[in-house]
């Protein structure tokens, strides 16, 4: 079985899934920092606090709309974008590059949170380089592969 996603790994995994993600942070149900792609603990904590405030502001702005609060938010700003998604247990927020595709970002966020909640794992395709090391390719036939014997013995 491929590596199971843990809360500690979630932000890093998001960065792996999308090259447009510049930083990501995961908060628990209490709004506290669970993990971050940032190595600097202070910066990670600040990012987590801002992500918590982001949904707080969204809830304030939309409280008269629907009985159900928004699940995801997208903020396009000059120089980049911020995406965030939440479940009752987790909130995952990402700061992305300017050209990041909203639909893909939102899908990745939701899929990762789904995986954290016990949903199916995201299947990633194997890069060609990795595949070449283990399997035969057109350029490099596998030496260990059994070669069929043609013709019978004379």
């Amino acid at each position: 079985m491929a590596d199971t996603l843990t809360p500690e790994r979630a932000p890093e995994r998001l960065c792996e899934l999308s090259g447009d993600v510049r930083a990501a942070v995961l908060l628990d149900a209490a709004g506290s920092l669970a993990s971050s792609s940032e190595d600097d603990r202070k910066r990670a904590a600040e990012l987590a606090e801002l992500a918590r405030r982001l949904f707080e502001e969204v809830d304030r702005a939309t409280r008269d709309w629907d009985p159900e609060p928004p699940e995801q938010v997208e903020v396009q700003i000059p120089g980049g974008a911020v995406f965030a998604s939440r479940t009752p247990r987790w909130t995952l927020a990402a700061v992305a590059k300017r050209g990041a595709l909203s639909s893909l970002m939102l899908y990745d966020l939701r899929a990762l949170l789904g995986e954290l909640e016990g949903g199916p794992a995201i299947i990633r395709s194997t890069p060609a380089k990795e595949a070449a090391s283990g399997l035969a390719t057109e350029e490099q036939p596998g030496e260990d592969l059994p070669m069929p014997e043609l013709g019978g013995g004379s």
Partner: protein, 71 residues
């Protein structure tokens, strides 16, 4: 119905129009904005003049600045 273009110049003009439209659409998509999505995935725009819009933008800008600082 769109009139079919004839001749290389008309075709080139058609291509340029298409590219310009794409550029305009990309620009529009990147305009500052706040969108929220319900659990079904339906998007709703928080209008710039709406309550809380400015605060949301501020928080997002702070997040971006924090990351840009590191880069």
């Amino acid at each position: 119905m769109k009139e079919k273009r004839k001749g290389p110049l008309s075709r080139a003009a058609g291509l340029a129009e298409g590219m310009a439209a794409t550029m305009r659409r990309m620009q529009r998509e990147r305009e500052p904005r706040v969108l929220v999505y319900d659990p079904a995935g339906y998007a709703r725009l928080i209008q710039p003049e709406a309550r809380g819009h400015a605060h949301i933008m501020e928080v997002a800008e702070e997040m971006l600045a924090l990351v840009a600082e590191r880069e």
